[in-house]
């Protein structure tokens, strides 16, 4: 067993608490409690952070459920969703310029980050109005340039996430025609850790989960301290208190471990992961070796989806339960 660990995170509303916890010493406090070291590293580029984790440079990393399946799990890195922090409840959306309904998207060019949760959201949205991806033309557009891209006349439809989404919706003549609140619980933000590392070092899991829920308690409080924490996170993500709270409003945070446990153990999670796996398979994200969507096994408390012999992604509420039971 080792005693120093590195986790990375990138700037996103649901992951800003990690920065707060690291800066305010909460993570260190919990690590000390278990006699280990945890380094929390900010990586600005989201995909790069996952790649680094997948390459084994980090023991844990923040990512969505879909990316956890398609990047580390598909890359053979057995990963466990240690903290199920929140799900997007309107944080991701489809915006049309000059049109009011999702049906109008037919035949349009849609700018989005291909193969990301936006792409998944679009697929689910199109499904809900009886269309498929072939009814639109997808143009890969980098998230950093999405807002600027939307200001040009060429771009009439985008799928993106916050804070880009609210910037775009705020522009004249723009309508959000579909968002993640219409597929609640399907886009989940996680702290994913390496399963082997976790198994060998339960302290690592305990310290991270312990720290997380202390931060949750602080930031969710309706006190000055809570407000200060949220303002801190807002500033760190390049906006202010109001901007950050607006983003929180469309995010379903699991402020208490009990909420998280309830969500993780529900049957819906397994169904969600089935959708995600199917989408990923359709887009070739599970690797060339994948014969079907179930090629990579996904373990949830409600059961395993896919190949039980090849489980690479696990939703394991053990540590969440410990937190809920106050055993940390």
């Amino acid at each position: 067993a080792k005693d120093s660990f590195k986790v990375c995170w990138s700037i996103y509303v649901g992951w800003m608490p990690w920065d707060y916890g690291a800066q305010k010493g909460i993570v260190k406090k919990w690590a000390d409690k278990y006699g280990i070291d945890i380094e929390v590293v900010q990586i600005n580029d989201y995909v790069e952070s996952i790649n680094q984790y997948t390459a084994g440079q980090y023991d844990g990393c923040t990512m969505t459920n879909m990316d956890a399946l398609t990047i580390p799990a598909a890359g053979g890195v057995d990963s466990t969703a240690l903290v199920v922090g929140d799900f997007s409840n309107g944080n991701d959306g489809v915006v049309l310029k000059g049109k009011k309904s999702l049906k109008d998207i037919k035949g349009q060019t849609v700018n989005l980050v291909e193969l990301s949760v936006s792409h998944y959201l679009l697929a689910r949205g199109l499904e809900s109005v009886g269309m498929a991806e072939k009814d639109v033309k997808v143009v890969n557009t980098s998230d950093a340039d999405m807002v600027a891209a939307y200001t040009t006349d060429d771009v009439t439809a985008v799928v993106t996430w916050n804070p880009l989404l609210s910037e775009i919706v705020g522009m004249p003549n723009s309508t959000k025609v579909f968002d993640s609140s219409q597929i609640p619980g399907e886009i989940i933000d996680l702290m994913v850790v390496n399963t082997d590392t976790l198994k060998a070092n339960p302290k690592f899991g305990k310290a991270l989960v312990g720290a997380w829920y202390e931060i949750m308690a602080t930031m969710s409080a309706d006190s000055d301290a809570g407000k200060a924490a949220r303002e801190f996170m807002g500033k760190a993500s390049g906006t202010d208190l109001a901007g950050y709270e607006a983003q929180l409003a469309s995010t379903k945070m699991f402020y208490t471990p009990a909420d998280a446990v309830a969500f993780t153990t529900s049957d819906q999670l397994k169904t969600t992961m089935k959708y995600v796996a199917e989408f990923s398979f359709d887009h070739g994200l599970l690797g060339e070796g994948a014969a079907d969507a179930g090629f990579i096994g996904i373990e949830t408390p409600a059961g395993v989806y896919g190949d039980k012999g090849n489980i690479k992604l696990r939703f394991d509420p053990t540590y969440l339960k410990m937190a809920a039971d106050g055993k940390l």
Partner: protein, 275 residues
């Protein structure tokens, strides 16, 4: 024993010497790749050559399920097209402005500071403004390449013009040439091989901007594919693509050098060759 400085390797030996470092790189890669794959057979970071070959085979020789195109070739053509137009436009602008700047002091006084300033602006940082001016289509990619390399090319051309010995300009005047004639007969032809040399120097940057442009908004191109598959760390695609870009870049460079040697023998016979 001759001094080191006077020892020239014979031709086959020179080849061998040149290849050795590449050979070492390949060996290193295989070692590292094997080590990682032994630990995690699904490791994507340093795929085995067989996986790379498989991925390439799929992209280059099997039509894509989605579009029916041969993805690899489609990407190559799109990228080369953008590169050619972008570099071509830049070279043309650089030739005109660089020669004018170099020969006419008034133009130089007028434009040189602006060009210097523009050459210092990091193009990536002003992308949003580029978008509203040039849109998000093919134009914006070409413009990004142009904005990225033109200031350098102009400054280089200007410098090259200034390096033409003053005696030649004086001589031309004593032969009755006016400013325009000096430009077309003395300056332009002498600067052409140098333009090719500068373009060769700036091709690296051009590729960089091309890839960046394709990463921003695109549906095909070598840069697009790299950024797309980066999302799931498909190094089995990225590595051959990077290799291919390097090869293409080399081929373009080589072609330009040959072209220059063929067109301007007087230039190359008097200037030592860049190896």
């Amino acid at each position: 024993m001759k001094k080191l400085i006077n020892q020239h390797p014979t031709r086959p030996f020179r080849w061998l010497l040149g290849i050795i470092p590449f050979f070492i790189l390949v060996i290193l890669y295989i070692g590292a790749s094997n080590a990682r794959l032994a630990e995690n057979p699904n490791d994507k970071l340093l795929p085995a050559f067989s996986s790379i070959a498989e991925a390439m085979n799929r992209l280059a020789f099997e039509p894509s399920k989605r579009s029916g195109e041969y993805v690899f070739w489609q990407d190559t053509i799109s990228s080369l097209e953008r590169l050619a137009v972008g570099v071509g436009v830049s070279a043309l602008i650089a030739l005109v402005l660089g020669v004018l700047n170099g020969t006419i002091p008034f133009v130089r006084a007028n434009l040189s500071p602006l060009i210097t300033a523009i050459s210092l602006v990091p193009p990536m940082a002003i992308l949003p403004i580029l978008f509203i001016v040039f849109g998000l289509g093919e134009a914006s990619k070409i413009v990004l390449i142009a904005i990225g390399i033109t200031p350098f090319l102009i400054r280089d051309m200007q410098q090259r013009v200034l390096e033409i010995p003053g005696e030649q300009i004086i001589k031309a005047q004593t032969l009755g040439a006016n400013t325009w004639q000096i430009i077309v007969r003395v300056v332009l032809p002498q600067v052409m091989p140098r333009l090719i040399a500068s373009v060769r120097l700036s091709l690296g940057a051009a590729w960089l901007f091309l890839i960046a442009a394709e990463a921003i908004a695109s549906t095909d191109g070598l840069g697009y594919r790299i950024f797309l598959v980066r999302r799931y760390l498909s190094m089995d695609v990225i590595l051959p693509y990077v290799l291919w870009i390097t090869l293409l870049a080399f081929a373009v460079d080589y072609a330009l050098r040959q072209l220059s040697q063929w067109l301007y023998p007087w230039f190359h016979d008097q200037t030592p060759e860049r190896a």
